[in-house]
Symmetry: C2
Subunit: 205 residues, 2 copies
């Protein structure tokens, strides 16, 4: 076989690289225009100038395109903001999450990926990897807080991050309720306070 949807192409230079960039850029652009519901391979192919059959062969479909976009976005050097205190760091994280969902100029890639993950195992795997990466990067603000004495040693950093953002995702894509700034701050405060009392130290430790 020549190339594979998940494996890297055996001849990654020149035209192939240009096509990859063009198609993934077009994917993001189409996503911004029509959202994931209106995402079609034909439109992406037309917009990128790459032929439809090529897109199907390399990525398999919209789910593969989204998985690739997610994987690429994992290499954008994202890092959490620092405010000097755990509660503020978590709140900043939360506001970023909400902005990513409601930003009108670019309908969120994460939102599209969450949607796609319900229909495709490939997208689900990509999403899992994406969030594992995000958790790992975000955990830095918690480990730093532990070093500052804001939380006891042994605290599970990822769990604190999850606690801070979960209520926001819950409102955004499960219960479909509006999210106010106060909701973000409350979730951050709750997570930070619980961390301070050692609530995220695993029982076995």
């Amino acid at each position: 076989m020549s190339s594979d949807a998940d494996g890297a192409p055996a001849r990654p230079g020149g035209r192939t690289a240009r096509n990859t960039a063009a198609v993934l850029d077009a994917t993001l652009a189409e996503l911004g225009d029509s959202g994931y519901a209106g995402l079609t391979v034909e439109r992406i192919a037309a917009r990128s100038g790459v032929h439809k059959a090529t897109v199907y062969r390399r990525w398999g479909g919209v789910d593969g395109l989204l998985a690739a976009s997610l994987a690429r976005s994992r290499e954008d050097g994202w890092a959490p903001r620092r405010t000097g205190a755990l509660r503020g760091d978590l709140a900043a994280l939360g506001h970023e999450v909400v902005l990513g969902f409601t930003g009108s100029d670019l309908r969120s890639v994460p939102a599209a990926a969450i949607s796609a993950a319900f229909q495709s195992d490939r997208a689900a795997d990509a999403l899992r990897a994406f969030f594992a990466d995000r958790h790992e990067r975000s955990a830095a603000v918690v480990t730093e807080a532990i070093e500052r004495g804001e939380a006891p040693a042994g605290t599970d950093p990822c769990e604190v991050v999850r606690a801070a953002v979960a209520p926001l995702y819950y409102r955004l894509c499960v219960s479909r309720e509006p999210v106010a700034a106060a909701d973000v701050d409350r979730a951050a405060r709750l997570a930070a306070d619980a961390a301070g009392t050692g609530a995220f130290v695993p029982p076995a430790a």
Copy 2:
């Protein structure tokens, strides 16, 4: 016009009622077989014995079918389990949520609805209404806990419920991580403890 997707049919007796029941039952059955990704009007029509065109006319598509199923499931008299203490009640709630997602015999209607809500405003509205109803019913365990003195008066009951289930939904459909029983219990404990310290009393009160 005769009937509408959202409005009730003007002639709801006899055949129409039979068709409605047959189609919605077939929708749930198909959902159990193939999940939401493989849900198609043609198969539902074939399975129910109702003609494809009729289904499209009455429900508009799979999203309408799902919205109707959700609305119907809202009248099943669901109520939260009682264990005698807030933490146990919330944990029971959480375990039910997880079971609903992983139950293999019937791939969760909520999960399908969450997926559909990303693609259809109608499904999103139905989902919002569904969760508003669930929140309201679940809130009872919190108000009873307040009466027992487990949490201060003024505590927002729905917010406690959200805090208990949000981390589970987050793992199940956002970060796609496995959910262990310990995760459910931790979320319940966290929410109950925070409620006990008055963390869910709105600042203005």
